[in-house]
Symmetry: C2
Subunit: 310 residues, 2 copies
């Protein structure tokens, strides 16, 4: 595939669609939204406003770091603090579908709707990729960013049109486009991170405390596993507790699952066969997180498991 | 330690204590209760009635198999079907302490109390070992068979006196005694199995269906891991569910954890560093169990984890 041609085509299509209107897009720092941000700014310049919504669900220091990275690329990103709104929406929810829905609704119907209104944008640029569409349509996974494809008229529901420059690509092709756009490696090779972010890494209720636990585990996993070259690696906090021993007393502790997979396009995945030095070291660090006394490694390929738990 | 002398001392102490009364003991097939059964029959002959209570929580085919094994040793064991009583007592309980308590109460206050009454026994022979006492007293784990040590007067509470011939030994010494008693290897080297049996391998509610799931997983784990020579290996069913894919559709599936540890006396344990061939094969078989779509391997030593989850 000729990615340069693809880039030119998308830029001109974005320009044609938006015309003299304003557009807006939300950047998460993942490769999909990063590519859309760069394509959008090349196409629209100041007509495009890029926001990064801090939904309380991002990794340690991530919101500020991503804003800085794009600053270096000459792209201004507005950091929006919406942490309380998301935490309130998620309070007391345990069902995975309800959690995803609460995040979708809070993002599109509340926070983003407000930002669109304030910005006067008529178009939303969106980092949907082909796998998102396929999995949602097949009923495997409800991606938070799939709207039109499941019959939601975004113009009617949220007040804007949606442009999806990457909807014909899978993850590997998006990385090629990122490289062709000369995005820094940290962005083009960034491991996939789900739309619901760390909320997708928490089985059961999402609270500030539980987010802190899974955020600390995520930092450890990323430090330990980035060098493996794996497609994706993640830490999941379960809601079950297990018995353990602290200070010679029984303790019911939290359980953290480590998952590390190889994949080309996220449609199927195999488990990375890590060495025991690495597994032991990760476990040792994970059980130092407050309240955690178990660390498990997920042995399951996709299928029959998915990459995420929620 | 001279195990022959230990055996003679215990046999004579059991004889002295029981005198001309009748005694009863419950055999599970674990090494502790097996040794007590043999010691008791050497000391008391027909004065001792041995029962095996099928509490619905045992492994596949285990009750019948253990009865047969002891038959070959010339010891008659009565198989008592108490499955419904235990399942009823466990229904709707999720708290580990409440589950253990329900099993203890059903066993001692109901099923066993009835058997004691029917048998006219004045003494119960019990397979308590030192580690059980230490962990219960330290508050790490409430072993179901610890009564006197935490202030329960069994004579008053249940109507019989308790004799504990193994209470000065740890697991490794019990195995030596079993070997000295010429118990078959299958019994002397039997891996530890918790008092609450498969109920200790289920996080959350214990139902017939969930017992079937963890029983099937236990069969797989024991088939695959007995050759490793590990101290203990087990399968645990969590109550959390995770997303997966079956027949191209999203499925919330059950999660099974595999644990395989090395230990001398169960006070501390290290994780067995299994090879990836073995891990992959176990996972492949586990996710073929109906409703299961994740298989995890527990990386955590004891401490900070315990061997069991409940």
């Amino acid at each position: 595939m000729d990615y340069k041609q693809f880039i030119e085509e998308q830029i001109s299509e974005i320009r044609d669609t938006v015309g003299r209107e304003k557009a807006i897009n939300a950047l998460s720092g993942g490769v999909d939204s990063s590519v859309v941000t760069v394509l959008g700014h090349r196409a629209l310049g100041d007509q495009l406003k890029t926001v990064l919504v801090d939904n309380a669900l991002m990794r340690e220091g991530e919101p500020e770091h991503v804003v800085k990275l794009f600053g270096k690329l000459g792209i201004k990103v507005s950091l929006i603090d919406a942490r309380e709104e998301f935490l309130t929406a998620l309070a007391h929810l345990t069902d995975p579908e309800q959690k995803r829905q609460a995040i979708t609704d809070t993002f599109y119907a509340k926070v983003f709707a407000r930002l669109v209104k304030e910005s006067g944008a008529k178009f939303l640029l969106h980092g949907t990729i082909l796998t998102d569409i396929e999995e949602t349509v097949a009923g495997i996974k409800r991606q938070h960013n799939i709207l039109a494809q499941i019959g939601i008229d975004t113009q009617k529901a949220y007040g804007y049109g949606v442009i999806e420059p990457l909807k014909s690509l899978r993850k590997d092709a998006v990385r090629e486009v990122a490289t062709a756009l000369k995005l820094p490696r940290e962005l083009s090779q960034r491991i996939p991170f789900p739309g619901p972010a760390l909320a997708a890494r928490i089985v059961g209720p999402v609270t500030k405390e539980r987010l802190e636990t899974v955020r600390a585990a995520t930092t450890i996993v990323e430090e330990e596993l980035s060098e493996t070259g794996a497609f994706q690696y993640l830490a999941v906090l379960l809601s079950d507790l297990a018995t353990g021993i602290r200070d010679n007393k029984r303790q019911f502790g939290e359980i953290v699952v480590i998952r590390c997979i190889d994949s080309v396009d996220a449609r199927t995945a195999t488990v990375k066969e890590l060495g025991w030095d690495k597994l032991n070291r990760i476990c040792e660090r994970i059980v130092q997180i407050k309240g955690v006394n178990r660390c498990l490694y997920d042995l399951t390929p996709k299928p029959p498991a998915t990459v995420e738990y929620v």
